[in-house]
Structure formats: C-alpha cells, structure tokens
C-alpha cells in the first residue's frame, strides 16, 4: 500500500510544531515587544496543525481512502491546542483547567471510536476526581504571587528550562514515530472477526438478555426460552446468519438440565431491531472473562497507593530554625498589611 502522507510533509509539520511550542513556552523579558511571543508560537502551531489536517485530507481523498468523521478535526484541534496551552501557561491552576479541556476533547474522540463507556468514565474519574485532587494540591502548596501581573510570578512558574532543546527532542520523537508508523500502517492485519461477530458475538454468552429482548418484542410465548448449549450455557444463536434457536422448556430433570418439549428457529426477518450487544456488554465481558487478573492487580495497586499516600502525608516535618524564622516573618508581614489595609478602609 502506498504511503498516505509523504515523510517530507510529516517532517515539516513536526518542525513547525517544535518551533511553535518552543516560542510558546513561558519565559521572561518579552514585554517590550509589541506582539507577545506566545501568540506567535500559538499561530505557528495552529499553522502546523492546519497544514497537517490539509495534507492528510488531500492525500487520503486522492486515493479514494476514507477519512475520519468530521467531528474528529475539532476534537483533535481542541485536544492538541489545550495540551500546548497546559504546558505553556504560567499559572498552575489554569494549566490544570486546560488539562480538563484536553480530557474532554479526547472523550469526544473516544465517542467517535465507539467507546462510550470509557468516554464517560474518563469525564467522571479524570475531570471529576483526579483533577480536583490536583487543583486542591495546587492551591494548598503554591506560594501565592504578590500581584496579578505576570512579572510578579515566581521563577518556578514563569521560566521554562531549555525550551528549544526540549521541543526539538519532543518533535524529533514525533517525527520518527509517525513516519515509521505511517509507513507500516497499510500492512496492519485486518480484524479476524466479521463486523457482525465483533459487534454481536458476545450476545451468545448473554442468554438472559436475549430472553428479555425477545420477550419484549413479543416473539416468546409462555414457557419459551432461547436454547442454551447444555455444556457451556451459551445461547444458540448465529449472528452472521441472524438466526436464533428457541425452545419450549418444562421444568428440569434430575440432573438440573431443562426438559425440552419443542424447539424452532427464528429467521433473520424476525431478528428484533434492538437485539444487539452494546459497548458496555462487550467491555464488561472482556474485562471479566479475558482479563480477570487485571482486576486483582488494580485492586492491589490502589490499596498500596492509598497506604503510601497516607504514610507520606502523615510524616512530621522538622523545619530548620532559619526557615522557621523566615516563615514567621512572612506570615507577620502578611497580617500587618491586612491590618493596615483594614484600618485604612475604616478611616
């Protein structure tokens, strides 16, 4: 398969991106110039992204290849733009808020990739829980700047370390990854499963769900159920041919197996519209059937993290005398100015 985008174009995009990020990273002493450097950086970056979208689009439509959904482009632009703003913003709280924007944009992309459950779980866990913890710590452990100007910020936040070198390294990495990736992407093996099997194959292990849907569609009379395989308990259903076998069951025999009085097959014309496995069905079955060990490992990781965080946070810190004195002086001056301000406002 031919390359869908030429390596030269990719190198150019990555170079533009590197220049944009290097300019956009925080630094001091550009207040004299008329146009702030970070706006220039943002423009170069936007150019790089637009160019990437353009080249990708042109090249892909050229060979009649399909493109991602239209909604992909705004989500990708918001995601990359917000993540650049996250690493370039001088104030940590804004960085955290831009990271939330990045997460919401990638949730949009998850939806386009038909991973609905993960999209909403990401919003709840990341944007709702993890980022709130970050915001809390940022507000707890930040030296408050004296004023609102950027000049009043600490060097920790206002100056980046080696911006040019780091952006060069980062985007050389992207260039290498993407060029080698795009070269081999045509040779990726296709899925072994048919689309119907991939979507609805999991239905066979959900016989109760099939019972419910068929019952709601009015296809099952009293005593009729979907036929179960006597050994595995899976429903007897063919998702490619769209046929379901159902049977009339009357109690159980001495070994607990159902006594089948009659059985027949529902054809593809009777397949109910709403009988399909959803993302959540598939994900839940995959998690519990194929990766049960992962749940145990995740539990241990979370428990250890909880213990570790508790132990770390409980530790008592002995400050040196000089540092203690400095802190006391700082607090003292803070209260002094507060008092003088309030006195002044009363007067």
């Amino acid at each position: 398969m031919e390359q869908i985008i030429s390596p030269i174009a990719l190198y150019l995009i990555c170079g533009l991106g590197a220049i944009g990020v290097a300019f956009a990273l925080p630094r001091r002493g550009h207040s004299g110039s008329k146009i702030p450097l970070h706006i220039v950086g943002g423009l170069v970056l936007a150019m790089a992204f637009g160019f990437a979208a353009l080249v990708l689009g042109l090249k892909a439509t050229d060979g009649g290849n399909p493109l991602p959904n239209y909604f992909f482009y705004p989500f990708a632009a918001i995601g990359i733009g917000a993540s650049v703003r996250m690493i370039t913003h001088k104030r940590p709280v804004y960085s955290a808020l831009y990271f939330i924007l990045t997460i919401i944009a990638s949730c949009g992309m998850y939806l386009l990739l038909s991973a609905e459950f993960m999209a909403f779980a990401l919003v709840i866990i990341y944007a709702g829980a993890i980022l709130i913890t970050y915001l809390f710590v940022i507000m707890l452990a930040t030296q408050a700047p004296v004023g609102d100007d950027d000049e009043d910020l600490n060097d920790v936040d206002a100056v980046a370390r080696e911006p040019v070198l780091a952006s060069a390294i980062g985007f050389v990495l992207v260039a290498l990854i993407t060029v080698s990736m795009f070269r081999g992407i045509g040779d990726l093996p296709h899925s072994q499963l048919s689309s119907a099997q991939a979507s609805d194959g999991v239905l066979a292990v959900l016989p109760k769900k099939i019972d419910k849907v068929l019952d709601r569609a009015g296809l099952l009379e009293e005593g009729w159920f979907v036929s179960r395989d006597s050994e595995t308990g899976h429903a007897i259903i063919d998702v490619d041919a769209r046929t379901i076998q159902i049977e009339l069951v009357d109690g159980e025999d001495t070994q607990g197996l159902p006594i089948v009085l009659a059985s027949r097959t529902l054809g593809p014309d009777q397949w109910p519209e709403e009988l399909s496995a959803q993302n959540l069905d598939r994900l839940g079955y995959n998690l519990l059937n194929d990766h049960p060990m992962m749940i145990e490992v995740a539990g241990i990781i979370l428990l250890m993290a909880m213990l570790g965080a508790t132990v770390l946070a409980r530790k008592h810190i002995e400050l040196e005398e000089a540092l203690k004195a400095a802190q006391a002086r700082k607090l003292g001056t803070m209260f002094d100015t507060d008092e003088s301000n309030s006195v002044r406002s009363q007067a």
Partner: protein, 123 residues
C-alpha cells in the same frame, strides 16, 4: 451542508458495539494526535520546573497512550483496548494520589515547588 448532515447521521451512539470496520487511513490521524499529545506531555515534563505541572504532564502522556489503545482496539474490533484503558485510569489515579502526597511533603520541606530545589538528589 449535505456532508455535515451525513456526518451527523453517521455518528450513532450506543447502537452497536462496533458499527463497522475502521480502515487504516482513519486510524492514522488518531495515532498522529496521540503521538503529538505524548510529545507535548514529554516537552512539558522536561521544561517546566513546577513539580505539580510535571506530574500533570505525565497524566497527559497517559491520556495519549489511552487514545492510541482505544483507536487500535477499534481498528481490530476488539474490546481489549478499552479494558487496558480502564487499567491505565487505575494506575493514573494511584499515581496521582502518591505523587501529590509526595509533592506536598517536598513542599513542606523546602517551601518551594521547584524541582531544582532538590538538586542534591542527583546522583
């Protein structure tokens, strides 16, 4: 305009686990976005001095990895990618709890969030 209506029609939420096959040319832009996000996170980790922002950048790299996992899972019509993202989320949550406890501890020692306040740790 017609194109837009078609695009809206083609987004079907919670209809099927995998509505159709996804060709490699659709997969490629997702991987590009994922690689770019990972690199931006890496650059942020290398350049910023604030320890909280550095850990935030590692979260961004987790995000990028998750996007690539889900895109590949969609391409191969498998749910394993999403399962791994659940695991990534779990590790990210554990990492956030540990890292932030550590940052608070370090901040109380030096009254500074700068990573260079701990220069003597280099080896």
């Amino acid at each position: 305009m017609n194109h837009l209506v078609q695009a809206i029609d083609s987004v079907q939420l919670a209809q099927l686990a995998f509505p159709s096959e996804m060709p490699a040319t659709v997969l490629a832009p997702y991987l590009f976005v994922s690689a770019a996000m990972f690199a931006i996170g890496l650059i942020g980790f290398l350049t910023r001095k604030n320890m909280i922002i550095m850990f935030l950048c590692t979260e961004l790299m987790f995000q990028a990895a998750g996007l690539a996992l889900i895109a590949f899972g969609r391409h191969h019509l498998q749910a394993d990618g999403q399962t791994f993202v659940i695991f990534v989320l779990c590790v990210a949550a554990a990492e956030a709890a540990m890292a932030l406890a550590l940052v608070v501890l370090l901040f109380r020692h030096r009254e500074s969030l700068s990573a260079s306040a701990w220069k003597e740790l280099n080896g």
